[in-house]
């Protein structure tokens, strides 16, 4: 079982790496844009559009990793006063409900990508980027999130 956990955590770290990469790309893209605009009076025309796409990537790919580091906020006001055994039970219940929500969101985000793909939807910009490409980050990210939630439950079941 601990091998399953290790694999999930590895996948989520890989996700976080992509997420960090997207963040670095936003910086690079904007700096390039400012540089070209200031010195050559020329614009890439895509820096604001692609920054938005990359932000989707930053968030989606980072969701699972963030959960692994217990960095998603929750209100532990009542939870904190519970005995350890009950903390575990509440955690498992809460995570199980979240798994259901994530499955629901995952299913519908796959549908969304499928729809934008089959309808051939493109961005309303000069680049005419097919919308499904940046949108694909959402189901991938939610899938990693789902795995990490299951791992969260697994770890507590083992205790």
């Amino acid at each position: 079982m601990s091998r399953v956990s290790a694999i999930i955590e590895g996948l989520c770290r890989a996700g976080a790496f992509i997420s960090a990469l997207c963040m670095a790309l936003i910086v690079a893209l904007i700096v390039l844009e400012i540089f070209l605009r200031t010195f050559f009076g020329f614009s890439t025309m895509v820096s604001s559009e692609f920054s938005g796409y990359l932000l989707v990537g930053v968030v989606a790919m980072g969701l699972g990793y963030t959960l692994d580091h217990e960095a998603h906020i929750r209100i532990t006001l009542i939870w904190g006063t519970l005995p350890p055994k009950w903390k575990n039970r509440v955690d498992i219940t809460v995570a199980a409900v979240s798994v259901a929500v994530t499955c629901f969101a995952l299913y519908h985000s796959v549908l969304l990508v499928q729809q934008t793909y089959s309808r051939g939807m493109t961005a309303d910009t000069i680049s005419e980027t097919p919308t499904w490409i940046p949108q694909t980050a959402i189901p991938i990210g939610l899938f990693l999130f789902l795995l990490q939630l299951l791992n969260f439950i697994l770890r507590r079941l083992r205790q």
Partner: protein, 442 residues
């Protein structure tokens, strides 16, 4: 099945707080509430479309639309900038640069928290980051020199929250995106209230020290003008960074997102100059920024879905109409809203408060005649208050963590600064010109 939006709102409110208090992650709590709201609503849908499909489509679209945003991409960049700076020697430099200038003012080094926080707030978008970065170094320094811990803790708690008020500010970015208000204008509108708040804090410290001379250690260090000017050299890089990041926005040359990217590069240069730019620091800074960004944006996406639900059902509309029918005076309304935020601030963090309440509260206050720009600054104050109200106040947690003092001592020390902040809220409500003074001139 409920068809009246107001009844449904009354049913949903306890459900949402139930989820929140159950220790379920805030983003999931908001999404769950949104789904339940749609399912309970007596919607007139064509028979081929189930309400579950409608909810799913709204959810997937909310996630995509709320995150695919140029303005919001300023958020991870300012977070990254703060994380890079946190890993540099910047707080030591601030201390060394400011200390020689404070020996003649009543209250002496107590003002270090106020000044260092104001300066750091001008390069950081978050209150927690400001409190942690400054407090890490000033608290032990003040203790070592024999200063009373109460004023030291209180001034750190109060001044640390200015991270959200003095631009750049994560809260202002989020508010600007959600309310469609210019983030650049919000940034500019925050300057005078921020400086006034810092001034009031310092005045309070000076007053306390004049009344109680025993708070200040007798030992007098004297600095010559030469030493003072040399010390200034230490904070010069920070001033340069403030100028580069905020200057462009004020002169209208860069958008906040562009300023944020410049800020990331600037903070890298600074880290390189201070010899703190190692591979380890850099990767830690990126990973921490990923976590904070994902955490905040998950809540934003959840709230975006919730607000779609609120709009679809017509809760915001119905509530707005109901409040208008009460014919409250605008001041009473803003007072009630303020109390509500302080109550919410006791159990929720600032960002959650803003994203959760905005779809409902903003239309109401705008109908009552308040300017969205002004309300943004008001809301930032509410968020700042929430940072220092128990039992859940992030600044309190941070200070508790770095000072190892017990919560009760910290709370008692913070209370006067809490009151000063309330005073500031009253002032900007009575005299909105404080906010508009600079924004009207660009």
């Amino acid at each position: 099945m409920i068809s009246s939006p107001l009844t449904l709102a009354l049913v949903l409110l306890p459900i949402m707080f139930g989820f929140l208090l159950s220790s379920k992650w805030i983003g999931f709590s908001l999404i769950s509430t949104g789904i339940i709201g749609l399912v309970l609503y007596d919607a007139n849908l064509p028979p081929v479309l189930s309400i579950w499909d409608k909810a799913g489509t709204l959810l997937a679209n909310s996630i995509w639309n709320s995150l695919n945003s140029w303005a919001l991409s300023a958020l991870p960049l300012f977070i990254l900038m703060g994380e890079i700076l946190y890993r540099t020697a910047i707080s030591t430099k601030l201390l060394n640069g400011l200390v020689p200038w404070l020996t003649r003012i009543p209250g002496k080094l107590y003002h270090i928290n106020i000044l260092a926080c104001s300066l750091f707030a001008a390069v950081s978008g978050s209150s927690a980051a400001t409190t942690a970065t400054v407090g890490n170094i000033t608290l032990s320094e003040l203790k070592q020199r024999g200063y009373d811990k109460r004023l030291a803790l209180g001034s750190l708690a109060g001044a640390g929250t200015m991270g959200f008020l003095i631009p750049p500010s994560l809260i202002m970015i989020i508010y600007g995106v959600l309310s469609d208000t210019s983030i650049g204008k919000l940034f500019i509108g925050g300057i005078i209230p921020g400086l006034m708040l810092a001034f009031f804090y310092s005045a309070y410290i000076a007053l306390q020290c004049l009344l109680h001379p025993e708070y200040v250690p007798v030992k007098q260090d004297n600095f010559t003008w030469g030493q003072k000017l040399r010390a200034l050299k230490e904070i010069l890089p920070v001033f340069a960074l403030i100028f580069v990041v905020l200057g462009g926005i004020y002169l209208g040359m860069t958008t906040p997102t562009e300023a944020a990217a410049i800020g990331v590069v600037g903070s890298l240069v600074l880290a390189w100059g201070f010899r703190n730019l190692t591979m380890k620091n850099l990767s830690e800074a990126f990973m921490a920024a990923v976590r904070t960004t994902a955490m905040i944006c998950f809540i934003i996406a959840g709230a975006a879905f919730l607000s779609q639900m609120v709009g679809f059902i017509g809760i915001a509309n119905a509530l707005s109409r109901y409040i208008v029918s009460l014919e409250l005076s605008p001041y009473v309304l803003i007072l009630v809203v303020g109390f509500m935020y302080i109550l919410l601030g006791m159990i929720l963090d600032g960002i959650s408060i803003v994203v959760m309440t905005l779809p409902i509260v903003l239309p109401i206050v705008v109908t009552a005649g308040f300017d969205p720009l002004w309300f943004g600054i008001y809301l930032v104050f509410m968020v700042e208050l929430s940072q220092i109200t128990p039992p859940v106040g992030f600044s309190l947690f941070v200070i508790n963590h770095i000072s190892k003092e017990n919560m009760y001592t910290i709370l008692k020390a913070t209370f006067p600064f809490f009151l000063i902040m309330i005073l500031m809220v009253v002032l900007i409500t009575m005299f909105p010109q404080i906010v508009f003074f600079l924004t009207d001139r660009i």
